[in-house]
């Protein structure tokens, strides 16, 4: 059976030979126009005058658009319609598109785009969390507040009260393939769109709206992305819309690709947060009451900030039972890029808050942080302790962290190495070691319930070859292969029989984004439904006791090749094509009250990281990381382990070297890989052991597997906690280490802890 086999990525051969096509590799017709945006130079204010004469006169330029030239407002927002494609006269962030240039080449468009002469009336910009919080600048009428029990009295009555503030930076996706789209006009005003997107249906919807045509007139096709990570969930809208507008106006194909600089400057990143906490614990470190203030910097437009901030609230508990808790979430509006989806989607931020709390409690009580974590773990239902429900009222009935963490701690000799690190620190004044073991419990499903649906289209051709299509998109995570393995397993045929095809709004309509780690869950089940429909029709026709296995169909003991079975069914006028559909059961949740069941199940993992820091410079290295991650009954262990390794490294990068810096004019200064440091080949743990937890999903998911796209990202939290541990070895006061923990920040923390500076 194909499922559970460690097959390579579906496009591996194409990738290693350089023949896999991304949007920018698609051959373009000779009359294709190339587009670029002219961007604003101030963070906040209004446009006084615009002179685009030089742009129009530049070599290669065919036309230029301002907002007034567009057929509609060409809104780009995935949520509340607050993002016109081009500035309507108001400027909301430095880097906002003001005009659109079409030219005969990409470089001609880019050159021309720099020639706009725009005069602004600047207004004071709100750039930071502090600015916006003090000014009360936020989305929605009020902060969102969820409570369970009564936190303040519980804290008051507790033996120990621990409070603090944690700052964590945002993160740039840095998908290696920057944003790209190409549109080919078809007959009668129809549009064919090639887009590097996680959400073809949204592209279709926004393009149709922009041109004021029905969705059925727009077809979007996506074969693959060179990385997505959430950055292509909504940020691709602007390019596709621009290309469609130009194609409609000129009758010529149009293509747009952001250069890396523009990609950094225009698109949204991970939300940076400040979390303020106050908890009361007993002597063992068990939390009795907790209060969190979560300040999320959302940028100028709402985009996906509400579900992101909600998910941060929903992961305030991580793996821990919080009997009394109050979470107050502010969605702050600032004059910066509109922060958007990024692997974890608020979960990492919320989780980092409570992990910092655990670390801080342990320091205050002089205990092993792992012991404090364990004392706060959820209990399993059998214990009947009443410590099994999340703050939002969902029962945690699949909690495996107790055994998983025990196994990990044993496997990686956590206690021995913690002791060894402490001894090393006694005798080493300059280099200090730290170690931390942190858990992850991540809720799986879109929190906007209606997004938890998926469709598929499967054709069995009369020669027995099978074409597969579904609404999920491939961005490297191996979704296409995993789902193909499902299809192959349903029909009992080898994987080569299955043809994977580009995601296409003309084949499956109204699909959700490939996001929330749900791609395999949702699309796997939809494909299963379609395959089973066809298979059952075939079986009913062919006889009794029909088995599909090993590439054959066995009817009453005698086997015929699958191809023969297909031919016979076709000739007997049995339909060999079917759609499939799936929607996640059991979900029901109210975001206002924060109560209900937003998640179908939880995915778990834990990481133990050991680091060394140089107290003279703040330099640091990850010496070793051990991970056990729960992917349920894995559909494809190598693809899943790839997600775990890549997710961990990206999570570690978020918390250590990846620093986004804006200046006081609101200009993003770190806008290239020369200034924004993502992990490189040497930046990995010297020793890196990753294994999958042996277990099945308790819920009826596709082959009892679990989602694996996002949860491993949060395993990177172990690195920040280990660095905090290492800094803590320098003295008595709490390290208070913020993220990203760059060398300079670590040095400052060391100086504070050691010298009281």
């Amino acid at each position: 059976m194909s499922v559970t086999k460690p097959l390579p990525h579906d496009s591996a051969k194409l990738h290693v030979t350089g023949t896999a096509r991304y949007v920018d590799d698609i051959p373009v017709p000779a009359d294709c126009l190339h587009l670029a945006f002219g961007l604003s130079d101030i963070a906040c204010g209004s446009i006084q005058s615009i002179n685009l004469d030089a742009v129009r006169a530049a070599p290669g330029v065919t036309s230029v658009w301002l907002a007034g030239d567009l057929p509609t407002d060409c809104d780009c927002s995935p949520s509340v319609h607050d993002e016109p494609l081009l500035s309507d006269g108001q400027i909301h962030y430095l880097g906002q598109p003001v005009f659109l240039v079409a030219a005969t080449s990409h470089t001609a468009a880019r050159h021309a785009a720099r020639l706009g002469q725009i005069e602004y009336s600047p207004e004071p910009a709100l750039l930071t969390i502090e600015d916006a919080y003090l000014a009360g600048s936020q989305f929605g009428d009020a902060p969102r507040i969820w409570e369970r029990g009564t936190a303040a009295p519980a804290i008051y009555a507790a033996a120990h009260v621990i409070e603090g503030v944690l700052d964590m930076g945002g993160q740039e996706h840095f998908y290696l393939e920057s944003q790209a789209a190409m549109v080919m006009p078809q007959d009668g005003g129809d549009m064919l769109v090639h887009s590097s997107t996680q959400h073809p249906s949204e592209i279709q919807h926004k393009v149709a709206h922009a041109l004021d045509i029905p969705m059925h007139a727009v077809q979007v096709e996506t074969r693959r992305m060179g990385g997505g990570f959430g950055g292509k969930e909504s940020q691709g809208n602007a390019l596709a819309i621009s290309c469609a507008v130009v194609a409609a106006a000129t009758g010529r194909p149009a293509k747009m690709r952001y250069d890396r600089d523009d990609d950094f400057t225009i698109t949204g990143k991970r939300h940076d947060f400040q979390i303020r906490y106050r908890v009361g614990t007993d002597e063992s470190g068990r939390i009795e009451g907790a209060e969190f203030l979560q300040l999320a910097r959302c940028g100028w437009a709402q985009d996906l900030s509400f579900p992101v901030a909600d998910r941060a609230m929903l992961h305030t508990d991580n793996a821990y039972f919080l009997p009394n808790v109050r979470i107050e979430s502010h969605r702050l509006k600032t004059n910066t890029q509109s922060a958007t989806a990024f692997r974890g989607f608020g979960g990492p931020q919320g989780m980092l808050g409570i992990e910092r709390v655990m670390d801080h409690i342990a320091h205050t009580l002089g205990q092993d942080p792992l012991a404090v974590r364990r004392v706060n773990f959820y209990d399993t239902p059998e214990t009947q302790s009443g410590r099994t429900s999340t703050p939002y009222g969902q029962e945690v009935d699949d909690f495996v962290l107790d055994e998983l963490v025990t196994k990990l701690a044993d496997q990686c000799d956590y206690s021995i190495r913690r002791e060894a690190a402490a001894q090393w620190n006694e005798t080493n004044p300059v280099l200090k070691r730290g170690i931390a073991l942190t858990p992850v419990k991540f809720g799986i499903s879109f929190t906007l319930t209606h997004l938890n649906q998926a469709g598929a289209l499967v054709h069995v051709y009369q020669d027995g070859s099978i074409q597969l299509n579904h609404g999920g998109t491939e961005m490297g995570q191996g979704l296409f292969q995993k789902v193909a393995q499902v299809a192959a397993s349903r029909f009992g045929v080898p994987i080569e029989t299955i043809k994977i095809t580009a995601t296409d709004t003309g084949k499956v309509p109204n699909t959700s984004a490939t996001a929330a780690s749900s791609g395999s869950d949702l699309n796997g089940m939809a494909v299963k439904a379609a395959c089973d429909t066809i298979r059952d029709r075939m079986a009913t026709h062919l006889g009794k006791n029909v088995q599909f296995e090993g590439g054959s169909v066995v009817v009453d003991g005698s086997a015929i090749p699958f191809a023969e079975a297909a031919k016979r069914c076709y000739e007997s006028r049995i339909s060999l094509s079917a759609t499939g559909f799936y929607k996640t059961p059991k979900l029901e949740w109210n975001p206002e009250t924060g109560q209900g069941r937003p998640f179908f199940y939880f995915a778990y993992g834990a990481a133990c990281s050991e680091v060394v820091i140089d107290t003279l410079t703040g330099e640091n290295r990850i010496l070793r990381t051990d991970i056990i991650h729960d992917a349920g009954a894995s559909l494809n262990p190598v693809l899943d382990i790839g997600q775990v390794e890549g997710g961990f490294v990206q999570g570690a990068g978020w918390l250590t070297t990846e620093e986004l810096i804006w200046d006081d004019k609101g200009r993003l200064r770190t806008h290239a890989p020369s200034t924004y440091k993502i992990p490189a080949c040497s930046d990995r743990p010297d020793i890196f052991n990753v294994s999958l937890w042996d277990g099945q999903n308790t819920e009826d998911t596709i082959y009892r597997s679990k989602a694996v796209g996002e949860p491993p990202f949060m395993l990177g939290i172990a690195v920040l906690m280990a660095l905090s541990d290492a800094v803590g070895a320098c003295g008595d006061i709490y390290a208070d280490l913020n993220a990203p923990a760059t060398p300079e920040r670590i040095l400052k923390a060391v100086q504070k802890v050691r010298d009281g500076i």
């Binding site: 030979t17 920018d24 290696l176």
Partner: protein
């Protein structure tokens, strides 16, 4: 706008001639004039390595070279390494050892790795990581990339020994 220059290159064993402006970067000449789309544009500032090609026997970042500087050179891109019917050891290795996810960095990675193994046929893991410092991957965390390169090195070396 300046006059076009007459450029002659050998790319993957084939002679190519075309006109280009002096300021055309090699990566764009390859992709747009010669339709060689294996090397990718990842960053434009010479850091990510997705544009890596081999030029006169050395790894270079084609986004940081004018086609005028490359005039007369012999260039190998991913398309010139192995073939779909007969993959190079490194290509086979990246495929088998899952040294790729989204694949965008892969042509540059493999092109660089072929040179790394020529420069140092028996690299340690440390040397592989140092030698691949100019190629960024956002998806894999590099574990399997390093594994793929070491496995390929091992295979190449055993084949050499067997031949001797």
């Amino acid at each position: 706008m300046s006059d076009k220059m007459h450029i002659k290159l050998t790319v993957n064993g084939e002679d190519k001639e075309f006109l280009a402006e002096p300021r055309d970067l090699l990566i764009y000449a390859l992709r747009e004039k010669l339709n060689i789309t294996g090397p990718h544009v990842g960053c434009d500032t010479s850091h990510c390595g997705a544009c890596t090609v081999t030029l006169n026997g050395k790894s270079v970042k084609s986004c940081t070279m004018f086609v005028a500087q490359a005039n007369g050179a012999e260039i190998t891109t991913i398309e010139g390494i192995g073939s779909p019917d007969a993959l190079h050891v490194l290509q086979e290795s990246f495929k088998e050892h899952h040294g790729l996810q989204c694949g965008f960095c892969t042509p540059g990675m493999i092109t660089r790795a072929t040179k790394l193994l020529e420069e140092n046929p028996t690299p340690t893991e440390e040397e592989v990581r140092f030698g691949m410092a100019g190629n960024i991957c956002r998806c894999t965390g590099y574990q399997n990339i390093v594994k793929s390169i070491l496995a390929a090195a091992s295979e190449i070396n055993s084949a050499k020994e067997a031949a001797e």
